[in-house]
Symmetry: C2
């Protein structure tokens, strides 16, 4: 059986669809009595408005596109959740796509979102992405784009980023205070803003303390496995006494490597991670890391998008919002009686 439409309701009440439409929309130009009748009838017939038709006619949809590298990453899934928390009450729904860290899939996903005529896009780029043309095109087609975490300035619109610089700076400074000095930095591609900023923070802290860091920075060591390998190599060479990893997974691999070399954390070597993955507080030793507030970020991104859609921010004027981070000092870096700040 067909779904009931406003036409069905109209017919069964002997009025026109336009009146039904207005009645359901709560338009004041329709009398109280018919509004009641329409609402009752709609309920009785189990009417569900057809958003598709409505969107087409209104020329705008209530769907927001969300594009992330991977839904199943702790950080991203929490951002999504936070975005939804803001956008749902505001009457929007989320069409979610993953890029799987591939530029090609990212572009495809953007196309899909545009084809679906989303009212706006909240996205974080794939690591691989260097060409941001597609995202720019979206804004040119009047679809506002809000970037978060992995952002690029070539794309107009608000950007919400973590305070990666300060987080890294605090982390490294904390290690230095703890008496570590040959601090290696394992990180991802420095072409990605997230990692370049953390790298900047690392350098700043090292330079400030007049410590040498040439040949102590290693790109492409961000997973547990690659972290393990690089750390194993460095520890064996006796070149370092601490690690600042740009991610917690690499930190886990690093700790493993240190243990496998018969050394202790933090007594022999300190380790600090980044992200505060859920396991960071559980592992042995508990991992000192930089906490990034995914909820805060999601809320900000959603609110920024709402402002852009509402015309409160001009498309041209792009702005960056920085979400504060926190250094969580735990066992993996507490060699001595160290001051937490």
């Amino acid at each position: 059986m067909k779904r009931t439409t406003i036409i069905d309701i109209a017919r069964s009440l002997g009025i026109t669809p336009s009146t039904v439409s207005r009645a359901l929309a709560g338009n004041l130009r329709v009398s109280e009595s018919t509004r009641k009748r329409v609402q009752e009838k709609a309920l009785e017939m189990g009417y569900q408005p057809n958003i598709v038709a409505s969107s087409l006619r209104r020329g705008k949809s209530d769907t927001i596109g969300m594009l992330v590298p991977r839904i199943n990453r702790h950080f991203f899934s929490h951002v999504i959740s936070a975005v939804e928390e803001i956008l749902n009450p505001a009457g929007y729904n989320l069409l979610i796509c993953q890029s799987h860290e591939k530029s090609e899939l990212e572009n495809q996903a953007l196309q899909v979102l545009l084809k679906n005529r989303v009212a706006g896009i909240i996205m974080s780029h794939a690591m691989e992405t260097v060409d941001f043309e597609m995202a720019r095109k979206a804004t040119e087609e009047r679809v506002p784009v809000v970037q978060f975490d992995r952002v690029n300035k070539e794309v107009p619109g608000p950007r919400i980023v973590n305070d990666n610089f300060s987080g890294a700076y605090m982390a490294v400074k904390h290690l230095i205070r703890g008496g570590y000095s040959r601090i290696a930095h394992l990180t991802g591609s420095l072409g990605v803003n997230v990692y370049s900023e953390r790298h900047r923070g690392y350098r700043y802290a090292m330079e400030e303390a007049s410590l040498d860091f040439d040949e102590l920075v290693f790109e492409g060591a961000i997973t547990r496995e690659t972290g393990y390998e690089k750390a194993l190599q460095l520890v064996k060479q006796h070149r370092v006494d601490a690690f600042f990893c740009a991610g917690d997974f690499a930190s886990v691999g690093t700790i493993q490597a240190i243990h496998d070399c018969g050394l202790r954390v933090p007594e022999d070597m300190g380790v600090v991670g980044f992200a505060n993955e859920p396991f960071a507080g559980f592992i042995t030793p508990q991992l000192t890391t930089v906490e990034q507030n995914a909820y805060d970020m999601g809320h900000r991104a959603a609110n920024a998008l709402i402002r852009v859609i509402g015309g409160q921010i001009m498309t041209g004027m792009d702005q960056e919002e920085v979400v504060p981070v926190r250094l969580l000092v735990r066992e993996s870096s507490m060699r001595a009686t160290v001051n937490n700040k």
Copy 2:
């Protein structure tokens, strides 16, 4: 500037929109030459088909609704990811909603999905939900529903569930083999299929070994906090020597409680969890737990939905698919030299 439509393309080529539509759809009734011309023009004008209009006309959308209690749960986010892996290549997109474990929000979300005329729904119920009317209504409105993990037989259509019974049975049997006998079971609401099945497995194993379990089953102890409290109480009363928790979070709380009482895991008390949360292999002691394959489940759910949409499964005929689970034996339960099976 307005987005280009097939009408624009038609005009600029001196043909009709219908021909353009057919050309882009690859319809064989349009000549090779015009098809080429249309495709080129479309590319040149940056044409993006309007899926909204298309959906309206075709009476069906390419969007699948996905409804989960919480996106940011490890298990659910992985299922989502797996579903997307299957559905994306098949030309579908995912509209994702969360119920936040609330029946009311679950129903609202279902309404939203129906209003958006999704082609199908893949869902897992909120713990709270006891009234499944809304999900039934969806199938009555010809929107196929596939349930996974938290399912209910009142709702027609495929159900994909973990082998909770066997998982629990294996877990408890493993504890018994290890020499534990006063095994408590901390779990969630037994009104939820997931927990009732695990409970059944627990009972079966206990009965099989002629062990007493009256007053050893506790509902409402599923979080880290509630798990901690209940465990603390039981340990202090010297009533138990092992715990089978229906979730890993409760297991973490339990281990904490045992430690806080000055006892050791697994020497004094054994602990087995359920889910294999990402931290399970990292914590100390490493947690023995039942691994549920979220990817497998997602793939099956997506494929089931595709089959229903394709008419390969009658709506009436409901079927349950059981995803196998695996017991991962780790430190938290290995008191003696135990056989892993």
